[in-house]
Symmetry: C2
Subunit: 368 residues, 2 copies
């Protein structure tokens, strides 16, 4: 799978992007130390009485869990991802266009990456990510890493299957029905765009169903984690994580909080047909897909838990309309839980108003 | 209904309490101005295009709604509540003991309050609440007022009936079953304590079922609002509020966001038997009911969405055990959504651990 960015930024912006990426990597790497510190404070605050023995024993087990989680997080930011980290930085002279329609399977691309890495191991040290001097890792940063760990469950574990069936199922069913007349080996000509692709499961499921698909994601946390899980595992169930140890409310028992989850449930490279293109683009949806070169490019835009991330949904609608081919289809699933709810410059439309907007933009609602 | 406080504080603490009460009153009074300001910014940010006509019209309707809400909030902090505000301040020389077992009905107490007010109208100006110089009303303060408005729906509207039946129903059913052998006119001898009584509906339902009941609440926002709704209305459906105008996510239509709610659904004074005592105590549950004079005082302690407000539940359990009569019963309903979740000095027990603690404290679980 190819990652690239089509941002064109000036030097200041580039520096800012580099610093942001450096901060995200630093936060991933700080997970173990920070989590152990928080845990130690918590354990130290527990009174030394038999009444608290069960709690104390449970919290001591967290150390083992944190170490497992940290192992995965360290791999996500390890030197093997340096080339990918490079690609996230805009206008670095290596790439500046999305390579949407490459016909390499993910497996081939993956192998190629490994080969390059072996041949040019000095590359590992080329990437100098410098965190700005006034940067401190906040609780908010760490909670993004914790949330990434939990999202692995939803997107890449057996335990997440029911939720995936409920959320991704209707999108995949609709595409398969709509293109039922297109033979599987020709579906690679149908290009699907998935904005807000998160950890990449829906993008993967789309290509596994024979379509070509491009994911787009803004969050560096998500981009690092999705690149890892899509490309790096060598077998299913390779990694064990403990996603629930940072939540303390409504826990039935210690066994629930200490539940181990194996990821990934499936090895991506085993399920990508050679007929598809499969890519991921880093950056802002409006900037990238509102650009002139994106006009009439996509057969399908599938938005899943995405449209409520807009400050003003009309901007997303304009871009979806712009990027879709004249007979293209838009599929949407998800709530209107506005990310910028209550912000002075956010416009939060009701469902009724959203439907009105959709028709104003010339869409015809086919199925609800 | 009687309100009083049994805190004993030094001068510094008293000043702090006065300032906090002053800030809460100031926040209630700032609701209209702040809400209109926020709304005006929001409306001004909307692009001047026909696409946004529906949103703009909807937001303009909010002005009317804010005015209605502000009318209620101003009554809550009006001069008619001055005597009550006085009573919230600890050790002010007027009262320093809870008057748990007074046999006045709420109606009588209410009338008495009105009479006093008429006789001594200069009393209205006696209460000088001074906000500290460095105090600014925050978004967090305002959200507490907004949340109070929404809680009126749950506790005191027709629309909240289903939720009340689900949450308060099991508690009332259990008390009625457990004391089925006690004739209604003798149930006033059974004393029920409800910590975290919020807007007072469960306290009211308990006395309406013939039991004597004392509510305990820590939040000044809740105390002001509950005193108002329990004592001041002259008829059912007297006030109209618009509780949903400050929420912007997952709204089906304008009609939903602009829904008018009438409160109260019932006039409290019509349903308080003359055989009960009915009181409310302001302050911290552990301080007040852990005091020596509270040992073995209560036949029933009913906690509803309360136990997860503890930093360390064992402290609540110790106080419940202390305050209950030897054969007393504790009834609990609610989740373990810990208020201090993740705090270094919070101990968050699992449900399994809570059950273990309960038996360690000598409780026997009768019904689950």
């Amino acid at each position: 799978m190819d990652h690239s960015s089509i941002h064109r930024l000036n030097d200041d912006d580039l520096l800012q992007e580099q610093q942001h990426l450096a901060q995200v990597v630093a936060t991933y790497n700080a997970y173990r130390r920070s989590s152990i510190l928080v845990l130690e404070h918590k354990i130290a605050a527990i009174p030394q009485k038999p009444l608290y023995d069960q709690v104390r024993a449970r919290l001591h087990s967290h150390i083992h869990c944190i170490n497992h989680n940290a192992h995965l997080l360290n791999l996500i930011t390890s030197e093997h991802q340096n080339e990918f980290l490079q690609s996230l930085l805009p206008d670095n002279g290596q790439k500046d266009e999305t390579d949407q329609h490459n016909k390499q399977s993910n497996k081939q691309s993956n192998k190629q990456l490994d080969k390059q890495s072996n041949d040019h191991s000095q590359k590992y040290t080329q990437l100098q990510l410098k965190v700005s001097d006034d940067y401190h890792i906040t609780e908010g940063d760490l909670s993004k890493v914790q949330s990434t760990i939990r999202q692995f469950v939803r997107d890449w574990s057996e335990e997440g299957r029911v939720e995936r069936t409920n959320v991704y199922g209707p999108i995949l069913d609709f595409m398969n029905l709509y293109y039922a007349h297109v033979p599987l080996q020709e579906r690679g000509e149908i290009h699907v765009l998935i904005p807000g692709s998160g950890l990449g499961r829906l993008v993967f499921e789309t290509v596994a169903n024979g379509f070509s698909c491009q994911g787009n994601e803004f969050s560096m946390y998500m981009l690092l984690a999705s690149n890892f899980i899509l490309n790096m595992p060598e077998r299913a169930h390779e990694f064990t994580i403990y996603p629930w140890i940072h939540s303390f409310s409504n826990i039935p028992s210690a066994a629930n909080q200490l539940q181990a989850i194996q990821i990934p449930d499936i090895l991506v490279s085993d399920h990508v047909p050679p007929t598809v293109s499969f890519s991921m683009v880093a950056g802002d949806f409006i900037q990238i897909y509102g650009a002139p070169n994106q006009k009439d490019q996509w057969d399908v835009v599938a938005t899943c838990f995405f449209i409520d991330t807009a400050k003003d949904l009309t901007q997303y609608l304009a871009v979806i309309k712009h990027a879709l081919k004249p007979k293209g289809i838009w599929i949407n699933v998800g709530p209107l839980l506005y990310h910028f709810e209550g912000n002075a410059d956010a416009v939060e439309f009701t469902l009724e108003e959203v439907k009105h907007l959709i028709t104003e933009f010339g869409f015809v609602i086919q199925v609800e």
